[in-house]
Amino acid sequence: MTTEPKTELNRLFGLYKAEWLNGQLFELFTEPKYFPDLRSHKPCALIGGRGTGKTTVLRGLSYEGQLAFNKKDYSSIPTWASYGIYYRVNTNRVTAFQGPELTVDRWGRYFAHYINLLLCGKLASFLEWYSLHTKRPVELSAASIGRVASSLHLPAVTTLSGLAEGIKASIISFEASINSIADDNPVTLSLQGQPLDVFTGELINTTEFKGKTFSFLIDEYENFLDFQQRVVNTIVKHCGGAYTIKIGVKDLGWRTRDTLNDNERLHHPADYQRIHIGEELEETFSEFAKRVCDSRLLKAGVALGIEDFFPRLTEEEEAEKLRVREVLGDLGSLLEGAEASELEFARSLPVLEVFSMAAFANAQRIKPVDVLRSAMSDRRKWLERYSNYRHAFLFTIRRGKVGIRKYYTGWDVMCKLSGGNIRYLLELVHQSFSDHFELGLDHRSSIVPDVQTAAAEKVGKKNLTELEGVSVEGARLTKLLLSLGRVFQVMAADPVGHTPEVNQFALTSSGNSPADAAVDSLLRAAVMHLAVVRQAGSKLADDSDTREYDYMLHPIFAPFFVYSYRRKRKMKLTAQQVLDLVQHPAETIKAVLESTGRRQPDFSPLPDQLQLFQGFFHAGS
């Protein structure tokens, strides 16, 4: 029985987390343009936030992923040039390797042994899988297996299954040692990286794997502790020949490039290839996202392309939908005192332009007809002024009103809101389709602006609340975003007489105060977990220096807070203000807005979707 397109669309677009996809991960995989670079034998670092596709891509490189791409053609397995072995760094494992019981150096040696056991164990599992599915034995001699076992300090074994069992037993025994680490029971530790060299070296000497290579795909590298990153960096530095390493890591999550050797670091491009997903897809994200979505539409049996579902409103159309004419009222009354020719001219203008004149007049406490006359007398100057504020004025039409205060519509806008993050994009599409279907509509009609906007708002809210859990700083990040979001929302609703479209900030203070250190740590977490995005400020900066960047809340949050997603103008904040926005939000929001010349009674009321956080915004007031 064929599944209804509606049901299929909901299902296919609802699968946007790699860990949910399981069997469908590879069926729905769309190859990004940087994928061929990852297949090279060179070590690679794939850098990007959550939802940018790192896990999907690394799992796509794994042997399970490759089999799925080859449509489960088991006969193809022996023909592959390389075999990827996927490993996700599990925080609950690696954090066992810390504590005052041992020095950091000693922990490093214990951890190196653990990594040897872990990766060799995965390699052994892969070989079992290989034999099972190809029906071809891996002809490692007893002597070869013995050498691998010896490198891991395992009891002598002569078969691959014996080796696999020996590794498992060794891990269990090692676990007991870690759980009683203060007893200092003697443990024989393998040498840094040596078992990997031995095992892969033995394998490429077999007929089966002659000329082949292995890739260890290490995902969520940021979960390693700093000294653990140095241990694995050392493997990256010295791997070659039989195996390579590909890592997936969040922005700022690769905290050190040092290795265990003094004065030795990993350098790009000499030691590894750096692939920053955001940078790679910056120009082509819309195209990539289109392919991802269109492939799902095709699977669901839908003939339309994704862009067809997301029509965009022009600014004029949007102004009309925001009922700007109701706000303006009768033009004759608005432009009281105007000559007939002036009135006729005004009627010929786009209604948003007339609204702008009224808004400027209101702010300057002059008559709208005076603004009209000024615009008529120097049309070029007026148009320049209008163009600076035109988009900003859209946020003011329904200031303080219930319901939608700003529309977010169009495929290109959806791409901009997702900020290059494919997961966010799929969430926006999924939510839009879901709400569209709730209205009783189907896949033959496009998604109306109200639905697109409501969906964008819901996705923003969802990701804001999810932020709480992404890191140990999650709760503080949520509060920071709520506070900054409110600041930018109030500014967006009241742009006249102020710099329009302010939605970025830069830090003013410099120095080494506790506040500076605390805010550096908070902003690093914010960037890493996509609470904010950053761009180098006017001064060139080191990657780790948070001080020389311009920061903006991730555009996905813009519809929730109701301000512009376009990267425009910035304000200055001190480190203490940023911290106070977390700890004392109500008073700090007020103080920050007052510093821009806005007074509290005039603050735009909370949009409907922020009413839920009233307790937060009014705390202490």
Binding site: E19, W20, N22, Y87, R88, N90, T91, N92, R93, T95, A96, Q98, G99, P100, E101, Y114, L118, G121, K122, K168, I171, I172, F174, E175, I178, N179, S180, I181, A182, D183, K462, T465, E466, E468, G469, V470, S471, V472, E473, G474, A475, R476, T478, K479, L482, Q583, P585, L612, F613, G615, F616, A619, G620
Partner: protein, 315 residues
């Protein structure tokens, strides 16, 4: 299930002042910045027979105890030293009051006490009320944790085998703090249909289960795991144990990953299950840093007969 098959060896005291440990017993306790961890002082001065051992400092690596006039440090990842510690109380009933102890302290003490066949009772005091957050958000209505230190194994409970499989189940024992649930979900990354949340019902107070639902609403909705919620009495570790046993029986494959982020009695039940179970069980703990004055006052006091329970319970 008849009570005879699933006994609940718990003594309940409506007020802390109604409880005094037996004269010949050993009483181990500590302090957290909460009123309820101070109840020991009410009987300590009057009761000179009970040997009171105060844990004066707690960390993830070691504790410092006051034994008589001496101050002793005890590493929490030393089976040898913990065994030696317990053997010094051979023949005595030991009461371990977990009210004023962090999970990373009482869990390894409990594990080694059981391994050394100590005649063990665990004491727990409910708070009168929890403090509300001055800056509430969706997942943080109460002010219970200043921050999360991060996921790390409890001392003595590290799992190193990399055995993640599609058969695994994630069982978060819910408290009020949705932030903590989101954090463990973010790290465990369970499939949405492999989550079985547990809510404490009946709660310490009738309204508390609603707070648990409200505080965790976002994550429960997004994962649709609200449909799989199970219940166990909030102040009873043994009820939780039996629930886990039932879940385990119905799902014999894979690892049960249990996150004790709710009540301490539920945490106790989870650790007992982990210790007693023959199958793969992993404890996922986020090490919250407790807010000062997160609770006020004291309510009921519970004494859980651990030795009696483990003597009768089969995993």
């Amino acid at each position: 299930m008849p009570v005879r098959d699933e006994p609940l060896p718990v003594q309940v005291f409506e007020q802390t002042t109604a409880f005094t440990p037996p004269t010949a017993a050993v009483y181990i306790y500590g302090h957290l910045p909460e009123d309820r961890s101070e109840h020991v002082e009410s009987w300590r001065n009057a009761n000179s027979g009970t040997r009171a051992i105060e844990i004066t400092s707690q960390s993830s690596a070691e504790i410092e105890l006051k034994i008589g006039d001496a101050s002793v440090k005890l590493p929490l990842r030393s089976a040898r030293q913990l065994s030696s510690f317990w053997s010094s109380f051979a023949g005595s009933d030991v009461y371990m009051d977990i009210t004023g102890l962090e999970h990373q302290v009482w869990a390894p003490l409990l594990q080694t006490a059981i391994a050394n066949r100590v005649s063990l009772y665990v004491v727990y005091v409910e708070p009168a009320k929890y403090s509300y957050s001055p800056t509430p958000t969706d997942g943080q209505i109460f002010d219970l944790s200043a921050r999360i230190s991060g996921i790390a194994p409890l001392p003595g409970f590290a799992n190193l085998a990399d055995q993640a499989s599609t058969d695994d189940w994630f069982i978060p024992l819910l408290g009020f703090e949705g932030t903590r649930l989101r954090h463990v979900i973010e790290h465990v990354q369970p499939a949405a249909d492999r989550i079985i949340p547990v809510i404490g019902i009946p709660g310490f107070r009738p309204e508390y289960p609603f707070h648990a639902y409200l505080g965790n609403k976002g994550a429960l909705e997004e994962t649709e795991s609200w449909a799989s919620v199970r219940y166990a009495q909030a102040n009873c570790p043994f009820s939780l144990y039996y629930l886990l046993k039932s879940i385990s029986r119905d799902r014999p494959n894979g690892t049960l990953m249990i996150a004790p982020i709710g009540t301490k009695p539920h945490g106790l039940g989870a650790i007992l299950f982990k210790i007693a179970s023959q199958r793969a069980v992993e404890i996922i703990y986020d090490h919250p840093v407790r807010s000062k004055k997160r609770t006020e006052g004291t309510d009921r006091l519970f004494v859980y007969s651990i030795s009696a329970f483990l003597g009768s319970a089969r995993p």
